[in-house]
């Protein structure tokens, strides 16, 4: 029994050590390359980038749901066309869309304002008769691209859908000699005179103001379609990548320094149980990092790091509650083994009740918070769960094994009681 316990104790320490190594250094077995820390999805405040929240101006329009879905699709197309494939687009509640775009040095566009403007611009294209009647809209255009025209200046050439071709053919046959205005977002960008019937379903838009860039952008916007909904940009936040990396480095450093001080304190104050606390805390940190890297939808953000570091403090609490109880029982004259058992069973309810209440507030935070606050809540929830597991199962077993070692000198486990009984 005694030898078995000692063996189990050593095995657990070895396992925690190995796990720590794997979590921080990764593991390669043959073709499998396991790098848990790389799996951690970093939030925008660390990678750098911009997020924008758009709100629909009017939710009472017909087919609102469908138009909302269409808007999300248009955002996706526009972002992909600029190479922002990592960007996430999420619908928030009924009327809001949140777009998160990581920006790094290789991104095509660097200015956050420019990006959010680019994706959120309505690009409502209309072809109008002289009296203002709309002939057709951007939706009737099947494809559009930038071409260099005969004069050497950029133009946008377009292909119409069958229906568009029909409408356009009819209008051009009626309006020969008159001007058709091409209106983008209520601004006339070109007003060509109709020379001939255009029945083939293709044409070009020319404008003296086109540059290569603006022409290709317009072509892209026409092709991805007009935004089906009118949107307001209600929130924009951006963060530079260097700032985020600095913040990450600093927080990790703070965490390491804090851990060292904490370990020193725990060992000095609680002795062998303190060492057990350090082992379980290391395991706690490993598991939290693993979970953040593997649970989908959980991002590591700066408040999230704060959540982990706060979680370490709270994980210590569970250990402290147990060891204080353990010490009380030992001081009351019980043997270490009995004290260990009694200490844990009494501490169990306390730890349960206190963690469940914290969990309640973390869950509320996860439901009502947005963005970084939400990710903070997720890390807090993970932290609480892992800390309970570490304290109630792992620390308990380690303590059980150690107290069954017949170590005669109780001061390895508890310091001598000073003064009289507490009452």
């Amino acid at each position: 029994m005694r030898k078995k316990s000692l063996a189990a104790f050593i095995v657990v320490i070895a396992l925690v050590g190995a796990l720590t190594y794997v979590v921080f250094n990764g593991l390669s077995i043959g073709i499998y390359n396991f790098r848990p820390l790389n799996g951690i999805q970093q939030g925008l405040d660390i990678t750098g980038g911009v997020y924008t929240v758009y709100q629909a101006k009017d939710t009472s329009v017909e087919d609102y749901e469908q138009k909302m879905a269409g808007t999300l699709a248009v955002f996706r197309t526009r972002l992909d066309s600029k190479g922002f494939t990592e960007a996430t687009i999420t619908r928030q509640g009924n009327e809001k869309i949140r777009v998160e775009i990581p920006i790094n040095n290789t991104s095509e566009m660097q200015d956050p304002n420019e990006i959010s403007k680019f994706i959120g611009t309505p690009a409502k294209l209309q072809f109008k008769e002289p009296d203002g009647t709309v002939i057709m809209e951007g939706a009737d255009i099947k494809a559009a691209r930038m071409v260099i025209g005969q004069s050497g200046s950029p133009e946008v050439s377009f292909q119409l859908s069958d229906e568009g071709a029909k409408k356009f053919g009819e209008a051009t046959s009626r309006l020969i000699g008159q001007q058709i205005s091409i209106v983008l977002d209520d601004t006339v960008i070109s007003a060509p005179k109709v020379d001939d019937v255009i029945a083939g379903g293709s044409g070009v838009i020319t404008s003296t103001e086109f540059t290569n860039e603006s022409a290709s952008e317009l072509a892209m916007q026409i092709e991805s379609g007009a935004l089906p909904l009118d949107l307001n940009e209600i929130e924009v936040r951006s963060m530079s990548a260097t700032l985020g990396q600095d913040a990450l480095q600093n927080s990790i450093f703070a965490g390491i320094v804090g851990m060292i001080v904490l370990f020193g304190f725990m060992i000095a104050y609680y002795r062998i149980p303190g060492i057990i606390a350090c082992i379980t805390l290391t395991l706690y940190l490993d598991l939290v990092l693993l979970l953040i890297g593997s649970v989908p939808g959980v991002q590591l953000t700066l408040p999230g790091i704060a959540g982990i570091i706060l979680g370490i403090g709270m994980a210590v609490d569970a250990n402290v509650i147990i060891y204080e109880r353990f010490r009380e029982e030992a001081w009351a004259g019980k043997t270490l083994r009995v004290a260990q058992k009694a200490g844990f069973s009494k501490a169990f309810i306390t730890i349960m009740d206190s963690n469940v209440t914290t969990l309640i507030s973390a869950i509320v935070l996860a439901i009502y918070g947005t963005g970084t606050i939400k990710s903070f809540a997720y890390t807090l929830i993970i932290s609480i769960m892992v800390s309970m597991f570490c304290a109630l199962i792992v620390a308990r077993s380690l303590m059980k094994w150690m107290t069954s070692q017949n170590i005669k000198r109780t001061e390895f486990f508890v310091r001598k009681q000073r003064g009289g009984a507490v009452l």
Partner: protein, 309 residues
Amino acid sequence: MIVQKFKYTIWITTAIIILGIVFALGYGGLNIGIDFTGGSITTIEMGQDFNVEDVSSVLKDMGIQNAPIVKSGENWTQAEIRVQVNQAEEEDQAQTSSDILTGIQKTYPNATIISQDKVGGVASSELVLNAFLAVLIACALMMVYIWIRFELYPGVGAIVSLLHDVLIMTAVMAIFRVQINSSYIAACLTIVGYSINDTIVLYDRIRDNNKVMGLKKYTRREIANTSFMQTLGRTINTSLTTVIMVTFLYIFGVQSIKEFAFPLIIGLVSGTYSSMFIAVPISTIMQERYIDRKGQKKKTKKKLASAAK
């Protein structure tokens, strides 16, 4: 002891809150961030040492008045410009910030915008509403949980102590003129979750001691005091370790982490204090008043009288 001293300890709380109100009034309100007011914060890296007046003159030329400029960054080479939403029309803001940059680049050619935050009026009012809702719901749910696991009055005591923590945090924010934004709300909610921990540990010990020591033999106050002494070691150690972690975060963290860590430190201290000196006394006094039978009440009175002698 802790129950009898309640009439004194409550004044410490009151004094801090009054001080907070005085400071807030003196400054003309709390320092509320754009998360709540709407507006924009643009951070510009100058690439060199700079004069705040140069930046404010650029702003003045553009017709932006009363926009506070704060020096920040490692070598104080960054300027944070805060513009309220009513001063720059919401739609023009993107334009405005690049104009500001162009203006500044005349004096400091290396200037670049490193971050820009913008919150519209609609978004900000929603944030405030959600924050209040979150605190209310969290408090209500925790109260129900304590009611089920303990009794009603400990629940009341716990909620009052949480309210106390949030008030103290806000008061300290007012005294130090720290900006209140969404990370402050996150800190408040964290403390609401954390401070309840301390309270539960104490309640749990009292619940235990009610059986072990016996309510027949001892008064509620005596049991509360004994429980307080028994858990004191745990309370101090836990608070200390958590405060150590968060303090390092504050020391080494960047601005946005500091904004979160500072209210956390205040809340941790306040939370520990309120569990011992607010939650338990309130719960004990209410139990004495509303649950205890005549015999128990008499005993409490007698013991109090003999203690007074």
